[in-house]
Amino acid sequence: MVKEAFDIDALIERHGRERSSLIPLLQEIQSELGYVPKEAIKAVARELDIFEVEVYEVLTFYAQFRLTPRGKHVIKVCLGTACHVMGGQDIFNYVSQVLGVSAGETTKDGTFTLERVACLGCCGMAPVVAIDDQVHGRQTISKVEKLLREHAANDVGKGEHVTKDAK
């Protein structure tokens, strides 16, 4: 069970109970917890006096929301137009192959979550990869390999290579 690590009263205090507060509420919960847990959905529905399904309806419509926890590092590979023509898909395929996960999935050890995004607005530096919202431009397969290695090392503290075993 996930503990209710969000303070619904404080959130309501800040955002109010209007229907238009729904998305900002969910956004704040997600930015605190990294995802929107079931308990939060219940609490929000209760406070806004709407059905839980209405909360789900919104959560599943917007790409930003996640219903499951994310890994320690979130890798976003940009597949916008500029990045696509500059080889973003190749980079995505490589990362996906190395980590053994596809888009939206997290490695088994919980280190990396891989996501595809459509344009980070840094098209002049294409292809772009963002790790934990830090943007890295002009990526190549060897640069990405290094980035992954650094992040894995930082975290596990062993300096080991990221290989398929990382899942």
């Binding site: 209007e18 229907r19 238009s20 507060s21 729904l22 998305i23 900002p24 969910l26 956004q27 309806e57 919104v58 419509f61 917007y62 790409a63 930003q64 929301f65 597949l79 916008g80 137009t81 500029a82 696509h84 023509v85 500059m86 080889g87 190749d90 395929n93 490589y94 192959q97 995004v117 459509a118 344009c119 980070l120 607005g121 840094c122 098209c123 002049g124 530096m125 294409a126 919202d133 830090q134 943007v135 890295h136 431009g137 190549t140 397969i141 060897s142 390999e145």
Partner: protein, 587 residues
């Protein structure tokens, strides 16, 4: 007191990712150590539009200016010691011809302050004439005057459709209602466009000022800025700017003693391209799924919470204060008959200088790509097409490079002005793959409300997917044309109506490439992986060994003076070698 010199450091997303923060800290430290802190002031500015991180300008106390590009922490000591202390600029880091070329031929109105002022300091904006337009509008003009001025300037919406802004405002004001709203559309969903982001990061107050003036003109009580969540820096700067404007009394009750009260709320998008469409955007602000609805009624009549609402794009609003200050005549003196003023383009792809380019309406695509763009990026790869207008736009070939940039000419060519994304493609780009790319995007982003878009786009995608896998059949091209046109006629909103454009224009201008995939099972550009054999063409290979060095899995064996050998069992088909090869020798 003597004038202080300035060191400007570009700190937009591009600068920051290149390490601008670290360079800035190091500079501060070094200036301090060298006892220069009181002679030079370090100033954070937004991105100037050219991706040359880290970009630094030194303005001497007597006004001379030098620009350094690609500065790293290691260069800081040298710059300070050589340039600031000994008066000898560091030649190897000075911005070169490309930099000059990039800015020549531009007319920077909207981008005027980007890279020149501190976006987090309202005083800096005010010092270059900021909020003068607001003062003028509130004190010297009636709302009708403002509307007439904007209408007379010929300003048209920069968010895609190009609707005349003054007309939109007049229509909205014409509807009696308890209140009205105005929304700034900062959703910038077109993947490959970053004009709005740069303006928000580099000059947020110009957009806010435009929004307040729009609110005054239509008689709105409240404004919203709907900014996409993928732009954390823009959101942060907007929050700061809004607070400062509030503290200064530009937002709030009885603004500047005029009796006009107006508040602005910042709304973060949640990752849905369709929310850039105005009716979907409204649904999203209301806290619902962002699904478009049929128009009419247009938002100007029934918009947010049923009230008359004006929605304008970031760049449209950024133009407003300048028009109010300089007058409609000034604005309309630039451009073509139907398209006035300037347009900012996000130039990206296979072009030498990528970045933001602002040019007068009416210049040709060629002037843009080979002027500021500096021509093609890679030796040996010739120009093939420009993609303009994003997922709603089209790919225009070499023959159409002399098309002038204005709303009508671009539409006629099968593309659209769109928001301003402009991606240059070279011989290493497969047009079928590009069409498939856009379709995969629109398929994913379709909200699913209408059948032509929900089902039709998937069918288009399936055919393209087959073609890129070497499973195309006779009749596929005709089917794409037929279905594409049908979707264009019948979809509910702009997303679906324009989604076939990338397919239809590539079929129209690059039919031969489709045929090569279908009939010869060949991808001439070397992109579609299932059609590639990963063989070295010994007739073209110059035995340079770059492919072997770049292969991430060590699948290529090479010795000096001999042809590389690719081990198919190790190869993961990542295409690193194909991209690296200077001679197109691997296919």
């Amino acid at each position: 007191m003597a004038f202080k010199g300035k060191v400007l450091i570009c700190q937009g997303t591009s600068g920051v990712s290149g390490g601008a923060h670290i360079v800035s800290e190091a500079l501060k430290q070094k200036l301090h150590e060298s006892g220069l802190s009181d002679r030079y002031e370090i100033k954070r500015v937004g991105d100037r539009g050219l991706f040359r991180d880290v970009l630094i300008d030194i303005i001497s106390p007597n006004g001379y200016r030098w620009t350094y590009e690609r500065v790293s922490v290691e260069d800081v000591d040298e710059i300070v010691e050589s340039h600031l202390i000994r008066g000898e600029p560091v030649k190897r880091l000075l911005a070169g011809d490309d930099y000059r070329m990039f800015f020549e031929g531009q007319l920077r109105w909207v981008l005027k302050n980007c890279g020149e002022i501190d976006p987090e300091d309202i005083e800096d904006y005010i010092s270059v004439g900021g909020y003068e337009a607001l003062r003028k509008a509130l004190h010297e003009m009636t709302p009708e005057d403002v509307i007439n001025e904007i209408a007379a300037s010929g300003l048209r919406g920069r968010g895609g459709a190009g609707f005349p802004t003054g007309v939109k405002w007049r229509i909205c004001r014409g509807y009696e209602a308890p209140t009205r709203y105005v929304i700034c559309n900062a959703d910038e969903g077109d993947p490959g466009a970053f004009m709005d982001r740069s303006v928000l990061e580099g000059d947020p107050h110009s957009v806010i000022e435009g929004l307040i003036i729009a609110g005054y003109a239509i008689g709105a009580s409240k404004g919203f800025i709907y900014c996409r969540a993928e732009y954390p820096l823009a959101i942060r700067r907007l929050k700061i700017a809004l607070q400062q404007a509030r503290d200064k009394g530009f937002i709030g009750k009885d603004i500047l003693g005029s009796g006009f009260s107006f508040d602005i709320v910042l709304k973060e998008g949640a990752g849905a391209f369709v929310c850039g469409e105005e009716t979907a955007l409204i649904a999203s602000i209301e806290g619902r799924r962002g699904m478009p609805r049929a128009r009419p009624p247009f938002p100007a009549e029934k918009g947010l919470w049923g009230m008359p609402t004006v929605i304008n794009n970031v760049e449209t609003l950024a133009n407003v204060p300048r028009i109010i200050v300089n007058g409609a005549g000034w604005f309309s003196s630039v451009g073509t008959d139907g398209s006035k003023g300037t347009k900012v383009f996000a130039l990206a792809g296979k072009v030498k200088n990528t970045g933001l380019v602002e040019v007068p309406m009416g210049v040709t695509l060629r002037q843009l790509v080979f002027g500021p763009g500096g021509g093609m990026a890679r030796k040996g790869y010739a120009f093939k097409a420009v993609q303009i207008g994003g997922p709603s736009g089209g790919c225009l070939p070499e023959e159409l490079l002399d098309t002038p940039i204005d709303y009508e000419s671009l539409t006629q060519a099968g593309a659209i002005m769109g928001s301003g994304g402009l991606i240059v493609l070279d011989e290493g780009t497969c047009m079928v793959d590009v069409a498939k790319f856009f379709l995969s995007f629109t398929v994913a982003e379709s909200c699913g409300k209408c059948i032509p878009c929900r089902v039709g786009l998937v069918r288009l995608y399936e055919v393209l997917d087959r073609i890129t896998k070497g499973e195309g059949v006779e009749g596929d091209i005709e089917f794409l044309e037929l279905l594409g046109s049908a979707i264009r006629e019948t979809a509910l909103c702009g997303l679906g109506k324009t989604a076939p454009n990338p397919v239809l224009t590539t079929v129209r201008y690059f039919r031969g490439e489709y045929e090569a995939h279908i009939k010869d099972r060949r991808c001439p550009a070397g992109v579609c992986v299932p059609l590639l054999r990963f063989e070295v063409d010994e007739g073209k290979c110059i035995k340079c060994g770059r492919c072997a060095r770049v292969c991430p899995v060590g699948a290529i064996a090479w010795e000096r003076g001999s042809f590389p050998i690719i081990d198919r069992s190790k190869c993961i088909k990542c295409r690193a070698c194909i991209i690296e090869c200077p001679e197109h020798a691997i296919n």
